[in-house]
Amino acid sequence: MAPPRGLSAKAIGRARRLLTGGVGIGLLAATAATLMVLDRIDNAAVERLRIEFTDLAVPAIEAMSQPVVTARRVATEAGAWVEVRRQNARLTEENDRLRQWQTVARKLEQENAALRAQLAVRGEAGPRFVTARVVGDSGGPFVRTLLLGAGGRDGLKAGNAAVVGEGLVGRLVEVGERASRILLLSDLNSRVPIMLENGRYRGILAGDNSGQPRLVFLASAARPTVGERIVTSGHDGVLPPGLPVGVIASLGPGDPRVALFADLSLLEFVRVLQHDPPRVGGAGGRDGQTAVTR
């Protein structure tokens, strides 16, 4: 026998109150806490959900970011017009300096090619890259990531290095079909193997959410100096070696700090290097849809 109409409406009302009241809130909070723990232990389903959702959301975020991009471009243009004379003088001077460097670079390039030919060096193909627009920013207080409007269909893979003209920005940690996420060098979870350009001593560049990441696990024989250049060492087998990262800004107290070449707050476009790390054996490797461990 069907329950009377009044009773069923009362039951529905009570269930609704329960769900929107304390019990419902408790259940939802417990679900959210479980998701946090699952994400922390790198649960594949949560990772997949994040990649799929980002892929879906990117067209909307991209459309919303258009006015921001236009406004930024207008502001940059206006600033450039105001500074055109000063900028011209600076660029002329820089151009003279670069011409001298060009001569040096050409000579070194020839020398390098000759030496490589003599030694029959293998396994260092020239880098290919994809230029992608930054469409989103994490914005949160604990994360330093950027969202790119390019993904697996553009040939990007998790682990690829993201650079701008000045130097390394970070690496791709999530790659979907049409979007991907860069973990910036400043993020708390970022760890990049580097070396001092002069002594070739190795170390790890560790982000801590500040503007200047720390230099940790530096070889004990290393004597870093302020202003010394830092480049990627490539020892992780993921990032290509020799990418410029920054210079040592301070030596202490605590670990040395690195001032990055790239200004992470002003990124509109980045280049993603499609570097294929050397592999032993033919099998294995990640496909374009997976994420690397953070």
Binding site: A32, G136, S138, G140, P141, F142, N209
Partner: protein
């Protein structure tokens, strides 16, 4: 003349304004906006919307909707999945249960109420992120986010107030 179906559609669309405005403000926080070097820490605009609607129209933004919006922001922002979902559910629950106090006799008391809530939100966010990571997170950024959010409350209060008025006209 609108038929019954038309009126019903308008009512439904109007009822979605709280959730849509909250989601929209959340997405604005994801845009690469650069304001004087503050680009890395953007105010938690969606928290203002969750607070506003939970105080003034909790029927249109129930805790499960706050949960869903928080989860979407978690997924899109690349942060810890579940963190904003957790924070928004508790914020919605608390704000709707204390709506008499938080709606305030004047705008300033309402604003002060939100400031207190936002401090609690930041503390909750920081505690959960630190607990899950197993080490204390840098607290400075969280404090800056909280201050920026409180500072942006008045213009968004006006904006959401307008949205609420249009909602009343439609229903």
């Amino acid at each position: 003349m609108l038929g019954a179906l038309g009126r019903r559609s308008i009512r439904l669309a109007g009822g979605a304004i709280p959730a849509l405005s909250t989601l929209l403000l959340g997405m604005v926080g994801l845009l690469p906006i650069d304001v004087g070097g503050l680009t890395r820490i953007t105010p938690l605009l969606a928290a203002i919307a969750v607070h506003y609607w939970s105080v003034f129209r909790p029927d249109l933004l129930p805790p499960w909707a706050a949960f869903a919006i928080g989860l979407m922001l978690d997924l899109a922002s690349g942060g810890l999945v579940g963190l904003y979902a957790f924070v928004f559910v508790l914020l919605a629950g608390y704000a709707s249960s204390q709506r008499r106090v938080l709606s305030g006799d004047s705008f300033v008391t309402g604003w002060a109420g939100f400031a207190v809530v936002m401090v609690a939100v930041s503390l909750l966010e920081w505690t959960m992120a630190s607990l899950v990571r197993g080490a204390p997170m840098p607290a400075g950024a969280s404090a800056v986010q909280s201050l920026l959010t409180v500072a942006l409350y008045p213009p968004l209060f006006l904006l959401l107030g307008r949205a609420q008025l249009s909602l009343l006209r439609e229903s």
